[in-house]
Symmetry: C2
DNA sequence: CGCCCTTTTGATCGCGATCAAGGTAAGTGG
DNA sequence: CCACTTACCTTGATCGCGATCAAAAGGGCG
């Protein structure tokens, strides 16, 4: 649906440049025309660096009154299943906001782990609410951020209800490709920084089945993989599979 | 998790009475001590009545800049699956807010249909934002409303990943029971105003399988149904099934 | 090289989708 | 009040897919 979490319309794209590099720029739309005050609240973000495998926060942690914005790297959001295995809620990449699910909550009901080395900006609630108070239009953008999150959860739920396994995998590959294109335009290429087990937990399958489905797609020549990155030479066919088209099993 | 969508803590319960009957009372926490001004923005809500089967809004409708709060009745939120069949997003009952998923969006990406006769309050965005501007604490409550919605979607996703069909059905019954108890305290009784097909679409199953699972639970004496309402005499056992416990198939 | 972990692939089996046949309940018109 | 219609619900029988168990094949690193 929406490319990653960008809220800015093309018409507003040039007004952004003044705050380029600031992770909050999606919310700073209608103030600070050209004066020097821009650095006041906008650039005082603290930045966190994580190595792959380190936690940003864990389930049941006290909420630290901060939101996070991913500047670089990939993160997985998970929670513990009743059976012990972890359920992946969502994979998040550059530009994504983390922590919206715990707004004004006392403790986290999800954990966040870095899949790769990460660079993450922190935004205290106080700064955010101050911004929202001063800039009416940023409140709209924040509302879109929240309903965008809800929309992505609905899309995920739709994926989980697809009866066929290969259908879910195809949808997953297409979804990541679409998100990656929001960041690097024109390049039909995305990455799988997470393990097969993570993908399986995300899609409600087993790692064996995920592996099998990827192999089938590769055998058809529709999927090309190079370690962590992949492309979809047979984009059209993969889209048909994702839509529920039947599939010949032979090579 | 949280009982329906109530945000008020027990400590605040008595301060609510001043606005009892007002659907916005969950947000009106910290102002209007005892004066007569209460009726100014609080009671000017318009009310909509729907008969069972009528739409509140449809997919691709233009967003009318309103939120809805269910005062009476049940509603299902759905969207169209790529295969043509509809995917149920959520079942909503008295006290629930409708329309949060389309905040500041141009058109609905979900439809809302009444399952029973309904009474629904409408809240224009303008009123809501005015309220949020004047009452800082209501902004917190609104944040909880939104992250509560996200939390419910995560719970739904967890249900969809449960491997076993009877596990999902058991979780569904328990979830509805918990929600119903938020409204009518102490009564271990809930309703199924939706069709089996709707339940199936919600759980990622077929109506046959849902029917079969309900029959199994009834055969064990753990589930008692009277037309639209049900109780769970074997609550403990159903909880075990929901957690993934194996199940003897005989009567 | 040997070790450990992830991934891939194979073989079997159980569960749930599918197709199909009653059964039940509410609404309609005679 | 009773046939008739039209849903929806229940139950049965079969079959394909994906979970499961298991083994082999990479891949990173001392």
């Amino acid at each position: 649906m929406s490319h990653r979490l960008r809220l800015v319309t093309p018409a507003l794209a040039d007004s952004i440049r003044r705050c380029h590099g600031c992770p909050l720029n999606v919310l700073c739309l209608d103030e600070l025309p050209e004066d020097a005050e821009r650095s006041a609240p906008c650039m005082e973000q603290r930045c966190i660096r994580l190595r792959g495998g380190e936690h940003l926060f864990r389930v049941s942690d006290a909420v630290d009154q901060h939101l996070y914005i991913i500047r670089q790297g990939d993160i997985k959001l998970y929670q513990h299943g009743s059976d012990g295995g972890q359920h992946i809620i969502e994979f998040l990449g550059p530009g994504a906001w983390v922590g919206l699910e715990s707004l004004n909550e006392h403790q986290r009901h999800a954990g966040a782990v870095a899949l790769t080395d990460c660079e993450i900006a922190t935004v205290p609630y106080t700064l955010l609410t101050a911004l929202l108070d001063r800039q009416p239009r940023s409140a709209e953008a924040f509302g879109q951020l929240l309903s965008g999150t809800i929309a992505r959860h609905q899309q995920h739920a739709a994926m989980l209800r697809s009866t066929s396994a290969i259908q879910r995998v195809a949808q997953f590959l297409l979804q990541r490709l679409e998100q990656a294109q929001g960041v690097a335009q024109g390049l039909a290429r995305a990455t799988l920084p997470m393990s097969r087990q993570d993908i399986a937990d995300y899609l409600g399958l087993t790692s064996s089945t995920v592996s099998r489905c990827l192999s089938v797609l590769r055998r058809h020549g529709w999927l090309a993989m190079a370690q962590r990155a992949y492309t979809l030479p047979g984009l059209r066919d993969v889209e048909k599979v994702a839509a529920g088209a039947p599939l010949a099993l032979d090579a």
